[in-house]
């Protein structure tokens, strides 16, 4: 398998504070990868670094092309969809407008049928399609955020703690849909999670990050069996 995303010696800074200390990892095309770690380990920063939303040094290559000199919107245009922490909903706009915005860089053809596909994935969004997105529940907004990202027809989808603040049942549904999207639409997925158990269930590959460094990597099932990981992140 070829690496779709390749990250080498990645360092990131917020002002004077260094948040990532030479991160190295890669994503295989078509895979689901999860990045695990505690609060403040650098998970969100890693995703923001990929989209050039934080000052970085080091190399990030997407499909062989370096991303460093590109602006956030140009990186997105390459087919990298980012579902940010807090969901990034356009709260004053309707659900349908949020979905249209997801496809704003694409040619208009195919947008309407893609919106219908999203409604098939997430029937609740169809019921609410004329409603202001800010009035949706947390779980519905997370589904909207995932659907909005998929409207780009991305090659790579970055998800920042999709389970945050959601009821366990809804989280389970969401991860089921993510697995389905990965298999059916061949979208490569990088998901950052504190809810390690679910993330490891759908992931092929896993990395554990601590204070801005990768401290462990391997196949998701091996990581799930690892004694230290179980104690620190799975709680049993």
């Amino acid at each position: 398998m070829t690496a779709l995303l390749n990250i080498k010696a990645l360092k990131a800074y917020y002002g004077q504070v260094q948040a990532l200390h030479g991160l190295e990892f890669s994503l295989n095309e078509g895979s689901v990868t999860t990045l695990l770690g505690a609060n403040g380990a650098g998970k969100t920063t890693t995703l923001r670094a990929i989209c050039n939303m934080v000052r970085t040094t080091g190399a990030i290559e997407f499909d062989g092309a370096p991303l460093a000199s590109r602006s956030t919107e140009n990186i997105v245009r390459l087919g990298i969809a980012h579902v940010p922490q807090g969901r990034g909903t356009f709260t004053t706009m309707t659900v349908e407008e949020n979905l249209e915005l997801g496809a704003i860089t694409r040619n208009k053809a195919g947008v309407a049928s893609d919106i219908e596909r999203m409604y098939a994935h997430f029937p609740v969004l169809k019921q609410r399609h004329t409603q202001q997105a800010g009035t949706l529940s947390g779980g519905e907004q997370q589904m909207l955020a995932v659907a909005r990202a998929l409207m780009l027809r991305p090659r790579l989808m970055l998800l920042d703690e999709p389970s945050f603040g959601l009821a366990p049942l809804i989280v389970r549904d969401l991860f089921k849909i993510l697995g389905k999207i990965n298999r059916e639409d061949k979208v490569t997925i990088l998901v950052v999670e504190q809810n390690a158990q679910l993330a490891l269930e759908i992931a092929d590959q896993a990395y554990v990050i601590e204070t801005g460094r990768i401290v462990m990597s391997g196949k998701a099932n091996e990581i799930a069996d690892n004694e230290d990981v179980r104690r620190s992140y799975l709680g049993y």
Partner: protein, 292 residues
């Protein structure tokens, strides 16, 4: 009774101009979170351009359209040259930028066209509208053009993809970038449109206040009052605020003893202060809550 109707209709006519100015102010406020103190001067300069074009023999509507295009381009140039570099600067730096822009445009207009008052033509004439003594054809024209403009803007923001992208960039800039919108150009586009809207206000009001470099100073204050009254975060509110301020101004001038023409402007300023104290978000704005 006829006096009252007359004053209200006249208020709606000037209110249309305030609505345009308020809309221009709100568009820029939405994009960059600052009040454009030079909005009136930009409109005045545009109006002089249209006057100059007419002096050179261009017919009214030709000059009108050329001026719109000039203002649109000018707004974009001002944003690119002056306010894009100031995007991350503190508030006071931006305020200084606006004041500098105000002074530069005002003085340039004085230098090029001097400070004497000039007559400005109206394409609508100034006879009684439909034979009624209540309102003149020019006042009716001001209302008509403003309403057409509002409909066009509504359609643009509601039904076009670029309008949708501009709204997204103004409401959640970070998410807008994450769906691939070039927010920086959306801001420039907002400046261009605001400048063009302002130029329409300038060209419509010029036959009433006459053309000279300080013609828009008072009008902009009414525009600010309208924007604050309607809510700085609401384009719809800005328009309603514009019409309300026009009506309030006229009624106060007629019915409150001692106000007359001289004290009309303080009424607008008092209105700004009143709204900011009593209901800072305005009639239609959302309160701005920031996490700290």
């Amino acid at each position: 009774m006829e006096l009252l109707t007359n004053q209200i209709l006249a208020g709606i006519a000037t209110g249309a101009i305030y609505a345009c100015m308020a809309l221009a102010v709100v568009m820029i406020y939405q994009a960059i979170d600052h009040l454009n103190f030079a909005q009136g001067e930009m409109a005045m300069f545009s109006t002089f351009i249209s006057w100059q074009l007419m002096q050179w023999g261009v017919p009214y509507w030709g000059a009108f359209l050329l001026t719109l295009a000039f203002s649109f381009a000018g707004g974009i140039v001002i944003e690119r040259l002056l306010f894009k570099p100031l995007a991350k600067a503190p508030i006071l730096t931006n305020v200084a930028g606006f004041i500098a822009l105000f002074a530069i445009i005002n003085s340039s207009a004085g230098l090029i066209w001097d400070f004497t008052i000039k007559q400005y033509p109206t394409p609508f004439g100034s006879s009684p509208f439909l034979g009624s003594q209540l309102i003149s054809t020019h006042q009716a024209g001001m209302i008509g053009v403003t309403i057409l403009l509002l409909i066009a803007l509504y359609g643009f923001f509601r039904y076009t993809r670029i309008g949708l992208a501009m709204r997204a960039a103004a409401s959640v800039p970070e998410s807008a970038r994450l769906v691939g919108i070039n927010t920086s150009w959306m801001i420039a586009l907002g400046w261009g449109m605001a400048a063009a809207i302002g130029s329409i206000a300038g060209m419509l009001i010029a036959p009433v206040v006459f053309l000279e470099p300080n013609m828009m100073v008072g009008v902009l204050i009414y525009g600010f009052a309208a924007a604050v009254l309607g809510g700085l975060t609401s384009p719809f509110g800005a328009v309603v605020g514009g019409f309300l301020v026009g009506i309030i101004e006229n009624l106060a001038g007629t019915y409150i003893p001692g106000v007359g023409n001289e004290l009309k402007l303080p009424i607008a300023l008092a209105l700004i202060i009143f709204v900011l104290v009593v209901k800072p978000a305005g009639l239609f704005g959302r309160p701005i809550v920031k996490r700290v």
